[in-house]
Symmetry: C2
Subunit: 465 residues, 2 copies
Amino acid sequence: METFRISDFELYDVVLYGDEEEKNELLANQVFVQGWVRTNRDNGQIGFIEFNDGTYFKNVQLVYSKDSKDYGILTSLRNGCAIEVEGKLKLTPEMKQPFEIEVLAAKLVGECAEDYPLQKKRHSFEFLRDIAHIRPRANTFQAVFRVRSVLSYAVHQFFQERGFIYVHTPEITTNDGEGAGNVFDVTTHDTKDPFEFYGRKVNLTVTGQLHVEPFALSFRDVYTFGPVFRAEHSNTVRHASEFWMIEPEMAFCDLNDNMEVIEDCIKFCISYVMEACPEEMKFFNTMIDNTLIDRLNHVVNSDFQKMTYTEGIEILQNAVKSGVKFENNDIKWGMDLQSEHERYLTEKVVNGPLFLIDYPEEIKAFYMKLNPDKKTVAACDLLVPAVGELVGGSQREENYELLKAKMDKLGLTEGLEWYLDTRKYGGCVHSGFGIGFDRLLMYVTGMQNIRDVQPYPRTSNNIKY
Amino acid sequence: METFRISDFELYDVVLYGDEEEKNELLANQVFVQGWVRTNRDNGQIGFIEFNDGTYFKNVQLVYSKDSKDYGILTSLRNGCAIEVEGKLKLTPEMKQPFEIEVLAAKLVGECAEDYPLQKKRHSFEFLRDIAHIRPRANTFQAVFRVRSVLSYAVHQFFQERGFIYVHTPEITTNDGEGAGNVFDVTTHDTKDPFEFYGRKVNLTVTGQLHVEPFALSFRDVYTFGPVFRAEHSNTVRHASEFWMIEPEMAFCDLNDNMEVIEDCIKFCISYVMEACPEEMKFFNTMIDNTLIDRLNHVVNSDFQKMTYTEGIEILQNAVKSGVKFENNDIKWGMDLQSEHERYLTEKVVNGPLFLIDYPEEIKAFYMKLNPDKKTVAACDLLVPAVGELVGGSQREENYELLKAKMDKLGLTEGLEWYLDTRKYGGCVHSGFGIGFDRLLMYVTGMQNIRDVQPYPRTSNNIKY
């Protein structure tokens, strides 16, 4: 008889999807598993350990009896400790779990102190946030962080399979991207001088877009996917001071092409996660938001609609006239829409994903292309039910004179001459978009607080880990 | 007749690998291409444009004659300008290039100013470094940055297909990882106070390892892949102040298992790039280092050797005795090996990749597992010919008392109590390693300066972009 070292994932894979030969081979031999005790109960005759090695969402049930060779060890195992077990696989098609492992020998390889903070009872997310180094072992966070990993990979697959070049844009930079002023400075230890190391004042990046555009004008289709930073004290459930952004940029691509890629990308990522993480998605739908899977399926099967900002404003004004109440009922052309307005348009008016396009120039970033009306820019925000804005994109201003005049007016030209150069040397129609990865993850999992989808969230006054 | 919008990559793909039907369809119709003029020469009768849209390493040849409808436009096109061309595909099996496009109509869509810095002549890497926003259009950097993207994806594929969970460890942190003291502080705009935003002093991370270990003790196999920072003024060809690190971490994994994963990972990544980027690799082998492909093939086909540090020291001491001259000939047990020593072992002694293991405790990081000899730790550095160290890994100290005593002695405990916790709550044997991604890319491409493999390199006193 042989003993096979095997993971939880492989066990479930063979039992649920393996052929008879594979199954019989495992059943005829012994298995060796290594992982952690989730819970352990023992009625004096027979004991059950909910075991998990982190490779699969569901636990594996280990069964032992008072006659087991290592009963003394087994009965005293505390929640959280690390064990190694040899045992026999038994199929249990009549039970809740499809199989269990009858323990033949067990070894405690990592004791767990009595004050282990993760006990069987349900813990609040607030409590778990305070033990960021332990919470990945809790069900919700096993699901969140596995989906985070799978969703990241989906992003790379989507772009790489379409020939996009992944560009690592820099984190330390001399510009503050969109000019909003909420940047972190970078200084060298002790001197506190942001000029010292590089000879110029430097800060953490707020966007990779400016640095990725020159690559689009060399490789056509490119993307960046990395951390960005905002020193905002906004203490909301959707703001963190460090988060990951996906920023594709495409040459010879106008606003309509851009929206096609956004739609394909969002649909691909959602479908990918639903297929790769069915257990996790079922869990979120049951425990976090029971409209989640319906909502995601609806998005995948929708044709995303388009509406101009100007049409949106008219619809909102008419809604107010006909009695709809917003927190802000003073709907005027030129205003920045609030989340409540965006949600009204996507939920009540079109009941599905909606691109709002052609925003007033004044409320959008300097690099967006001025439309022929000279009042609006070729921007597209993707609004989705239950959330509001999920993606922001635009066609970029490729006209050197127009862009320079705007940058001069805003005082942005100095230090960004190289960015302007891209319009002088073979610049062409190009577009791109940005997706806040953490917000996309919230959208896909139904999690409501950005602090619960980041491994170690960084928010104002909060950096224990 | 139809007109197909098509990329350079698709053109080469159909002509070289497509079936007859696909080829004939293209030949019977017209193609529409969008991209940039690399060079344009015209003898008054017939003109040739070396055209590239960034999707494939090789150019596409556009041919026009003085009778062409848009001859006036075509003949005046400057290097670097963006054009759109309709034409007929012609196979040219007897020529250097397998096909060309006979231009039917052309449009200049992005003018290129006369002072375009990228001219036909060969430019030095130093010169190109100074135009980081333009150099991605040069052959060498088309090759470098495409391989950078493909190599990144290879890393993700390797780990994701083996069930590893990708963890986005934080960039802003309160610890300085290995305690080397060369960190960048992070402050808020104007206040210059690294305490202000988070209520604690914060800096940019030097490693994701400490933050990823708790995830290995939850998910078993995990990895992080993201930017790290070092405020070192080292002005060498291998040091940058910002670079990307790959840091896998595995529970229930000892030093030997660790070395197996390292060997598999390096072989997978090299093979992947050689298969996915044959034209680029041929270019590097011709233009940068004509031993490159042989060297990489040798690595892929080697069994990586193992040697203890102590054996290595003895071999080096004997080499000095028998007349080998190093810059530093004072070989003593306990010393940090220099690159010249590492290269001697990997090139002269084993002639292939070599794991040097079991280093003196004093010269390695605090978290490495103390061996039974109480003098060495379970570390493994992978040394490779032509470079020296490529990967550094170790088994981690899982014993709470030993680790705490060491951290206390080094003054590292305060603020890292959570890290120690992982040894209290179900800690187990675990190991991991780190690969400097930019150095791996240098190794795979043969490029000699880290400034030439990063999109916008950050080094001391250098941050123009």
